[in-house]
Amino acid sequence: MNIIVCAKEVVDVSEIKTDPKTNKPILQGIDKKISDIDKNAVEEGVRIKEKLGGKVTVLSVGPSEAREYIKELLAMGADEAKIIPYADTGDYNVVSTILAGAINNLGYDIILCGEASIDLFSGQTGPRLAQKLGIPQITYAKKLEPKEDTITADRDLGDKKVTMESSYPVLISVTKEINEPRLPSLMQILGAANKPIEVIAHSSLVSEETSVLERIDIKGVSMERKNIIYKDDIDDAIGKLVENLAKDGVLG
């Protein structure tokens, strides 16, 4: 089974602080990591390999420094990685075109990705990539049952649960609930050092005209809330809160 997992480096959103003057997020100096749900995708890929045999290739479009984090995915059990250095501008058409180009050169049975990345949470890469490759997509998978010729997936869609089946090749996006990504052991970390990481230039895979969207600004979130936070004495806080809620006329 030829398994490809798309994973990307993101800023650790839980560490983002906002500039008190401009209200804009401060992204410099924030720790980076592999987007959490992408790790679920890698874990699922490794589990499929453990069951059916084959190879897991991690594919990452993003900064070349991502190498440090991509190695963690190799330690988790992926066999090799390809990094395509590209300054992501949030144009998913460009990113999915690059990915599709690289994947077409690799050959594939299953493509796995996270339902969305934790930084931007757009959820576009999977569906766009599936379309570019002309293959079916199964999104929001929370359980997979891979067999030799077909794969079934349980999808949780809020008001309905849908079970789907597809032949290969197929693209599957997974949710955080699908598994608990393994922590690599020391031996696996050491073993990852010998696994190949190839860097591929994006210029061979995409042309300028592919751009369809331009991010013109990242604004701070305007604080329209009263934001009165009581931190110290609980009894005092409750007294004030109840007074305020009564004043606001929401206690009925």
């Binding site: 190695k71 963690e72 922590l183 690599p184 052991s185 020391l186 970390i189 931190k231 110290d232």
Partner: protein, 379 residues
């Protein structure tokens, strides 16, 4: 010269940090309160190779460098100093001397058991009347056919009641003073091996500290570690390595105190602003951070020196001395910054404060470290 960690070391740090946050943090306070040994944590650590960090792969370990080892102990200790010391003793004081002084047969038999966590290790040297002065020990080992018969007792043995494999020190030649001390690998299921009291301590309460009693305990001759009379040398050489583990534990405690203090000082409001805006707090934080940075550099320097082969006891003693004093200071200031809340068990600095002190005492007191350092400079 390069102060960056290698990619592998960074990955190891990230992995252990994740592990400690997910698996140790949620139970650490409870283990401390109930004085419960971290059996489950150790089992999970074994699965990740953390109980065989420095053991070569042919004996079932990860065969890592000592800087990586220091990183692991620091990250574990940040969340639970008790688990930190148990891991340090297991790796530094038990696996390491077997690796260094053991016969091929001993290595093949014991290192895989330790590296896979099937057995936890303990270092049984200290006695009621023999702490820093190991030569004063009273436990004896007398050769009787194929066995040594060991009689005596040991005090303050970390993991003493839980460990399956002990490095036991005993006198084989009463006339020879410290040259009459020998080291033995002893399995805890040996007849005559008894656990006495479990000590109630100020801190590191999840690392059970026991008294051991040996009554006509017959240990096979083949379990002598090194030569007869080599025990003192083995003990000192082993403790040099152990000090790197304790220095790492101390850096972990100090780092946690700093992180907790930064977080708390930015939240706690007094006089209408966070207390981090007050210079009195800022200076404390700046001093803590500077000392921790220095301690970590000394620690990594000592670990690096150990891997280069050669003599590193001065470096290890300096790292242990400075890191342990840094831990005590950082924990003290951490409590101070937390004010009244720092004295309450709900806040982790209270535990750090109790845990920090022992780092200035065990595996050589600060006074003993200064002796080692001075001896290296003045001899």
């Amino acid at each position: 010269m390069d102060f960056e960690l290698t990619d592998n070391q960074k990955m190891i740090r990230n992995m252990v940090r994740d592990f400690a946050e997910k698996e140790i943090e949620p139970v650490a306070a409870e283990l401390d309160e109930k004085e419960e040994y971290p059996h489950d944590i150790l089992k999970k650590m074994a699965g990740l190779g953390l109980l065989g960090i420095i053991v070569p792969s042919e004996y079932g370990g990860a065969g890592l460098d000592t800087v990586s080892y220091a990183i692991v102990i620091e990250e574990i200790s940040k969340r639970c100093a008790s688990t930190g010391v148990v891991t340090s003793v297991h790796n530094s004081l038990v696996s390491d001397p077997i690796l260094k002084y053991g016969t091929e047969e001993q290595k093949k038999k014991y290192l895989p058991l330790l590296a896979t966590g099937e057995k936890i290790g303990a270092f049984s040297a200290t006695e009621a009347n023999a702490g820093t002065d190991l030569g004063a020990m009273e436990t004896t080992a007398i050769l009787d056919g194929d066995h040594y018969v060991i009689n005596g007792s040991k005090m303050f043995i970390t993991s003493g009641s839980e460990a399956g494999i002990h490095i036991v020190f005993a006198i084989t030649d009463k006339e020879a003073g410290y040259r009459g001390v020998s080291a033995f690998i002893v399995e805890s299921n040996t007849d005559g091996f008894e656990v006495g009291s479990i000590f109630e301590k100020m801190g590191i309460n999840a690392s059970l500290t026991a008294e051991l009693i040996f009554k006509d305990m017959r240990v096979p001759k083949g379990n002598l570690l090194g030569q007869e009379g080599q025990g003192f040398k083995i003990a000192l050489g082993t403790l040099d390595g152990g000090r790197i583990g304790i220095a790492a534990q101390a850096v972990g405690i100090a780092q946690r105190a700093l992180e907790e203090s930064i977080e708390y000082s930015q939240q706690r409001q007094q006089f209408g602003r966070p207390i981090s805006k007050f210079q009195a707090i800022q200076w404390k934080i700046a001093d803590m951070a500077t000392n921790i940075e220095a301690a970590r550099l000394l620690l990594h320097r000592a670990a690096f020196a150990k891997d280069q082969g050669g003599h590193f006891s001065k470096e290890a003693a300096m790292a242990k001395l400075f890191a342990s004093e840094t831990a005590v200071k950082a924990a003290l200031e951490g409590v101070q910054i937390h004010g009244g809340y720092g004295y309450i068990k709900e806040y982790v600095v209270e535990r750090l404060f109790r845990d920090a002190k022992i780092t200035e005492i065990y595996e050589g007191t600060s006074e003993a470290q200064r002796m080692v350092i001075a001896k290296n400079l003045l001899q």
